[in-house]
Symmetry: C2
Subunit: 452 residues, 2 copies
């Protein structure tokens, strides 16, 4: 049944969005795509291949992987025809879906499986500036390689992306879960208290050493234990010396030896890949919140700001095992792409040529007399690969020029009755004010030459 | 808390997907992206700009727009912390979200608003071959132009996309809801029966003229009325003659005059845009299921197949009004992109150069002696813009070559201890069997030259 005019005036629905969700109008979209395209190009340069999974996953796939707090933030979904409203969830990240995919399609995947995934995820957090309930994640992971050469690829990938996006001083903080375990053992922490250690130390940047110490104490950890732990966590010497410093205290512990060997190897590969040392450092207070990490962990921050981390990741050798029944070594990183996009604006990192529109040329129209010829010219320009908009209203030239200028279209082609008669057009270029009459068959070449 | 080895072996979760949902592994993704990139390029060529809206919409936004059957197919969603499980829906198409966006952001949008939107939608239909519960739509619409020049842009856009994708014989069927109304009036149909007419005639391709006649009769429409209607619906003369034929019967009805004028204008613009006449025809049995169309409607089929339609659209001047309280002329088309992707395979339309991998070059590794040098060479190639994968396991050369060949990587760079000493590499090209030793500083240029 067609919608009638009377319905339009009587049934009005207020147009609005669910809380914490966003529309992206074209101007914003073009900026987002500038960022996504650079990220995608670097993923390809490093040999990562695209993967896509559905937005909806079975509850059993996601539950029990992220911890209780995360589970309370998830979105459930259900088919209207189904009685069971608890069977489906919107994905919460891209890592657990990867683990499911690898186990499910194990025979169709060649190892190592280097995949990237750029897609939205959903978390019902309290909306606030820079925090949304639907937001994009950009992940790259390497499945099947236990060697540190894979972790080095991940660190090098993140550094390359941020450099290509023109980020100024940033640094990848590197730690190893094995060293945290060793620091715990050395200090006399009981085995069951390791997750308390992670959770408290995770707040180092926010509450400082005293705050972390207090929290550990409140979690029932002995003052002596905390006293032994703190100097090691805060060790902060340049480069590999920081590892030597830890080794002096922890070298007798097997798990420490392994953790130190891994980080030393990791750094030799990062160096071989030509990543300048200003872009990474060891930081033993960096623990990453998530439970599934088993080896080296990474987190990237913009130096001397409080923007928080813009990328995180690490090695998680057991997650895929939950779906496969057998562990499979995996390492990867996730870019905080929404924060990166926000920072691109704040730090003014977009190049000048980023436009508000995809359109190169507007073709003018002056009433029915010229409209068919304008349609024809528009088709000619498009055929020549020029992104062309045909003006579709009846307005005077000034209005049409204003429209193009406001929208940021760089060229206007004026095609009046005079021009049609003479087989020419008037080409106007906004950025330098040039205006010239040229033969119609030279138009496409002229625009091409001036666009590049 | 870290996932332990014992959890991996005891807690195994069967990896599987919700019904009707799909993973896309890299090989498939690269094909899908080939299609999406062509579609996106043509959208840009025509001056359409990208828009993105959230997956979740408020129920009030979507309900009452698609009809009861559609509403029973929708997916509900809810925040785990919320008691109300009926407030949110996953989007069902991209058209109603567009209408909401235009009304909501009316002051931030310049009219005409030409937007495209490529994104998944959810419909809980019975899964079957070629029908999925999560699938992509590709829409392009023009908001703000009542003139047929806009509808002609849409038809021309669809034809251009399908030609660029190499689709063989296809045809855009064109009709006008106003002519259907006129045929109803002429035949003596009561006003309230118009939606019965749409619903029955929509099945013309499936059940034929007799089937449609029978269904109309079963819906309580008089045999005489059906008898007057059928010859007009089935009028099938070449080009504009088909309109002349209808005019002879319907010319006295105002709504017919308007519908005929619109289609005649539409065709003059399609012709001016240089679209060959083999690509479109009038078909008065084509009605489009959805209720919101008000003027010209389009549907594209592959000729002489039963693949069904691969694109549909039309003018819907009142839909935005439901959110805005005032009508806003709008026309557009949706590509049946999943069916198009399936057909690309069936009709063998992908170009030969489509690869299973993004990777151009594999750099080999032979143990710890060569690994650091291989990491360095990999970084050099990437710096030169070559998509490079570093081999990350310890295997013999044959295994590494087999890996590259199976994956479809066109080049392998062999870097053994001999090569490192001499400052050279061995470059192997799979498609012609070439194998050559070259200086390392000439490697990137050589690969670039052979890639294009």
């Amino acid at each position: 049944m067609p919608i009638t005019e009377s319905e339009v005036t009587t049934k009005r629905i207020k147009p609005r969005l669910p809380r914490g969700m966003r529309d992206f109008l074209p101007g914003e979209m073009l900026k987002r795509e500038y960022v996504f395209n650079i990220v995608r190009d670097v993923f390809h340069l490093y040999g990562f291949e695209p993967l896509q999974t559905p937005v909806l996953e079975l509850s059993e796939t996601l539950m029990g992987k992220y911890g209780d707090e995360a589970e309370s933030l998830m979105y459930g979904a259900y088919h209207k025809g189904s009685k069971d409203k608890d069977k489906l969830l919107l994905r919460y990240d891209l890592t657990v879906p990867l683990a499911r995919v690898v186990a499910q399609h194990y025979n169709d995947i060649a190892l190592p499986f280097k995949r990237y995934h750029i897609a939205p995820v959903w978390r019902g957090e309290k909306p606030q500036r820079g925090r949304y309930r639907e937001f994009y994640q950009c992940d790259a992971d390497i499945v099947g390689i236990p060697d540190m050469v894979a972790d080095a690829e991940i660190v090098s990938l993140v550094v390359t992306i941020l450099r290509r996006l023109n980020f100024p001083q940033f640094r990848v903080k590197i730690n190893n879960r094995k060293l945290l375990t060793a620091i715990g053992q050395y200090s006399g922490l009981e085995n069951g208290q390791l997750s308390d250690l992670y959770r408290s130390v995770d707040k180092f940047d926010k509450v400082g050493a005293d705050g972390v110490g207090e929290e550990l104490y409140n979690r029932g950890i002995d003052k002596d234990v905390i006293g032994r732990m703190m100097p090691l966590l805060q060790a902060h010497q340049p480069g590999l010396e920081n590892l030597d410093h830890l080794e002096a205290s922890l070298g007798h512990l097997e798990v420490a030896q392994e953790g130190l060997r891994e980080l030393r190897e990791l750094v030799t590969y990062i160096e071989a890949a030509g990543i300048p040392s200003e872009y990474y450092e060891f930081d033993f207070t960096m623990v990453r919140g998530l439970g599934y990490y088993t080896g080296p962990i990474f987190e990237t921050v913009i130096i001397d700001t409080d923007y928080g981390s813009i990328s995180g990741g690490g090695r998680y050798d057991n997650l895929i095992g939950l779906f496969r029944g057998e562990s499979l070594p995996t390492t990867g990183a996730s870019l905080g792409i929404e924060r990166i996009i926000d920072l691109m604006d704040e730090l003014d990192l977009y190049p000048a040529h980023i436009n508000n529109t995809v359109v190169d040329v507007l073709v003018t129209v002056f009433g029915d007399e010229t409209r068919h010829e304008a349609v024809k010219l528009t088709a000619e320009l498009r055929e020549a690969g020029i992104k062309t908009e045909l003006y579709m209203q009846d307005r005077n030239l000034r209005r049409q020029l204003t429209y193009a200028n406001r929208k940021g279209i760089p060229f206007v082609v004026i095609l009046g009755t005079d021009e049609i008669e003479q087989g020419i057009v008037t080409l106007k270029q906004f950025n330098n004010g040039d205006e010239m009459k040229i033969a119609r068959d030279e138009l496409a070449d002229t625009i091409h030459a001036r666009l590049t």
